[in-house]
Every structure is written in structure tokens, then in C-alpha cells.
């Protein structure tokens, strides 16, 4: 094994299982003491009380936990938090406010693109990323790009319509 002192993961104190990390979330730095097992999802929700990011399946199958890491959408449930020290993390709390909705959020409201709302923050984080991705103009292409976000209420038709409104597509 290499010189253990070269390991940038540092224990809170000798023999502690906890790691000292600084996470960058929505433009702010957070100094945290976390278990190496903590996923980014659990860290956001349980340590930082940023509960807009939802836990659906916890296995990378439903997309409810979608966040952006360095500008790209990822499943927060499969990301270990400590590994993402220094990365720029964006959650739904960093996208619009109740008084100043992001255009995507306004479009979801206008199109009634949800029923229970549990998947909605993940849908919006995916849709926000889609706006920068090489997604073709059609509804089918939007469906393909959004297939990693499940909606068990079945609001898919209105979700596609809301996204297309913001993209200026029919």
C-alpha cells in the first residue's frame, strides 16, 4: 500500500470512522464529518436537511435523487459523498425559489406535470440538464432522454409538454 499519509481522505480524529470533508453545494461550502458509507443523497437529506432531493429506489433505478455534479446529472444514491469533495453539486434547492420559479418549474406548474410530486425535483433536475444535452427536437427524443426518471403517477405526457414549452418546441 502507498504511504497512507498521502490519502487526502482524512479522519476526523485518529481511529475515528468519520471523515472530514468539505462539500460544495449550491455555491456554498459545507464542512462535514461523515461516514465513508454516506451516499451523497443521504448526506444531502439527513446531514444538510436539503430534503428536496428525494430517495425513491436508492439503487439508481428511479431518478428521484437526480442532482448535478460539475454540471452533469447523476444519481445521488449511487455517489459516495466523500468522493465528491471539491465538486460543484447543484440540487433542486439551488434552482429557483417559490417567489422566483425557474422557467422549468413554472412550466411544470402550468402543465400540471405531476400528481403526487415525489419524482418532480428529480424530473426537473434531469430536464434542466437535458436543455444542455444533444437531445433532438421531438417528443420521442425527450422521452428517451428522460427515461431515467420514473413517475409512478404517470404524468409523463405533461412532463414532456412542460419540457418542450421551455425548449420552444411543439
Amino acid at each position: 500500500m502507498s504511504d497512507p499519509t498521502s490519502n487526502p481522505f482524512s479522519a476526523v480524529e485518529p481511529n475515528s470512522d468519520l471523515l472530514s470533508v468539505v462539500l460544495r453545494i449550491n455555491g456554498a461550502s459545507h464542512a462535514l464529518q461523515i461516514d465513508p458509507r454516506a451516499t451523497l443523497l443521504d448526506c444531502l437529506r439527513d446531514t444538510l436537511q436539503l430534503t428536496g432531493t428525494k430517495k425513491g429506489c436508492d439503487h439508481g433505478q428511479c431518478g428521484a435523487c437526480t442532482v448535478h455534479i460539475n454540471g452533469r446529472r447523476r444519481n445521488a444514491c449511487l455517489a459516495l459523498a466523500a468522493v465528491h469533495e471539491g465538486d460543484e453539486i447543484l440540487t433542486i434547492e439551488g434552482v429557483g425559489t417559490p417567489d422566483r420559479l425557474h422557467p422549468l418549474q413554472a412550466a411544470f406548474v402550468a402543465r400540471d406535470a405531476y400528481q403526487c410530486g415525489y419524482c418532480t425535483s428529480g424530473q426537473i433536475m434531469s430536464a434542466l440538464a437535458l436543455l444542455q444535452e444533444p437531445c433532438g427536437p421531438g417528443d420521442d427524443e425527450v422521452r428517451e432522454y428522460m427515461s431515467g426518471n420514473l413517475c409512478r403517477c404517470g404524468a409523463y405526457a405533461n412532463i414532456v409538454a412542460a419540457i418542450q414549452d421551455v425548449r420552444g418546441q411543439s
Binding site: 500500500m1 502507498s2 487526502p8 481522505f9 458509507r37 446529472r73 459516495l80 432522454y145 427515461s147
Partner: protein, 332 residues
Amino acid sequence: MQSFELLRAADPSAAIAAASRSATAQQGASVRFLAGGTTLVDLMKLGVEAPHLLVDINRLPLDGIGRAADGGLRIGATARNSDLAHDPIVKAEYAALSQAILSGASTQLRNAATTAGNLLQRTRCLYFRDTATPCNKREPGSGCSAIDGANRMLAILGTSEHCIASNPSDMAVAMLAYDAMVHIQGPQGERQVAIADFFLLPGDTPDRENVLQPGDLVTHVTLPPPEVGARAAYLKLRDRVSYEFALVSAAVSVTMAEGRMASVRFALGGVGTRPWRVPAAEASLIGQPPGEAAFRQAADLALAGARPQSQNGFKIELARRCLVHALNQVTR
């Protein structure tokens, strides 16, 4: 999830030294490299994987994608699946690879998943993922629950009485058709293994899935120069139109000369315990004009020896038709 120590390796040598302390690089490894985590973290939550040490290789300089010296392509081990699929060279010259990657998983997963991680992804067999049931791959000698269980998604080629788990990768199927080479750095130095030899058949040791030994780090994959004039495609048939594993799939690439097939490459996914390629089936088409009868005969050769389980007999005919359709697509 079992506790583990987290290490960020300063360089590949440090990562290799740390991993070489594991008794195995296969099922039950006590040290694992962590890249995208889309397989490993999932399986650690399920208790299927329980390493004591995770070596984070995300910051190692292994993520490049670029032209190789011989005119082929060099793909870094930690290049993200999204970056590989959208790479201009891959889209233009290795179209079946781009299509294969984009047919798998979701954008979120492809943004995390890496080249080497995709090669090493584990089967989706229900029993492998469920620690409450016997599984020879997860726990050697415990038995195979799938042979008399839910086996609709599982393999019909390369199986044994001990394991019928299918390899779930799309990327590896295309890489097999393109004759990819897997480059490995280990405690004893560097070596390269043709992708056709990289994956092992389950036999009576289904816990051993590939040739990797303790400390072995896949550093990159290379593809030979593209064939001039080749037309290629990846056709994937599945239960849903998106975000689902293959029932069967085919990666095909064909070049034509004077109305006849001059070179033919294809590999099948979803049907084998490893990505499946039959050189004699490809060779049967050389020098022939494209046509349904010839394609059908090649498909019969490709599926020779297929052994259906109780629920997946449909895969034999589905795989034949998938291959014939894909060959038709690229020779029209």
C-alpha cells in the same frame, strides 16, 4: 452496508499496490477500485459486495479518449460512458459502439459509469442480487436458483449446470465486434488481453468472471483502426423501448465490395454468459451477396449450441431475427 476504508490513490501504482493485497479480484474481493460506482455501490447496499477497502480512482488521469498511434482509438478506463458515446470519432467511425452505449441505462447512469466499470458490470440475475437465495456466482457451491427459477432474462449460450447468468453489457458487445483490446496494469507490469479472451465462461467457477488478478487495474481499451466504408449498427430488443436490459442484441459491421460482403463482424448480447461472437458465422457471409437466406444461415451458426432454460426459449428465434434484421439494416 459493511464499513470500509476509503483511499484516494495518488497514482496508478499506488492503486495497484493497495488492491494487490486482496486475495482475489473476483467475487469476494476485499479491495475494490471505485470509479462511477453504479454497479459497486448498488451491490454494496445489497450486501453482494463487501470490500474492506475502496480505492477511489476517479482522479487518476485515466479518462482520455483519443486517436491511437495506429489510427485506432484509445479509450481511458475512467472515460464516462456519456463522453465515449458522444465522442465525434466514435460516432463517425465506431457507430455501433456509440449506439450500444446510448441504448443502455439512463443519462444519469451513463454520466457516472466508466469504460472499465461497464466491462466489469455484474449480471442482473435476480438471485445473484438477492443474498437470501443460493447462487454459485455469489457464494460458490451454494447452488443455482435460476435454473429452476425466474430465468426469462438469462443466458442460452455459454451456460453450465452451475450458472446461467447473462452478461448485461451493451458496450462490451460492440467492443467485441470491433476486436477491442483490454490494457491491464498489474503488480507484475503491463499486459493486454483481447476482449474475446477477457471474459471467462462460468464452468464450475462462475464466481470468476474475467482474467483479472489481484491488483490488476484496467487502464484503457483500444480499438483497431476502423474499416474503410464499413456500415455498422447496434440493434437491441427489450421489454421497454428505453432504460431496460437487452433480451437480445446484435452489434454488426459490414463492408461491401462489388455487391458482395467483404468483411463481416457481429456479436450478440443478452444471450450469453459473456458477450457472444462466433467467427465461423461471420466467415460464412464473406464473398456472398447480402440476402435473407445467407443471413439466416449465419444466424443459425451463431446460435449453434444454444440451450434454452424453462422461460427463455424464445431468445433463440428472437436472437436469430435480431441478427438478420441488423445485417439487413447495414447492407441495404
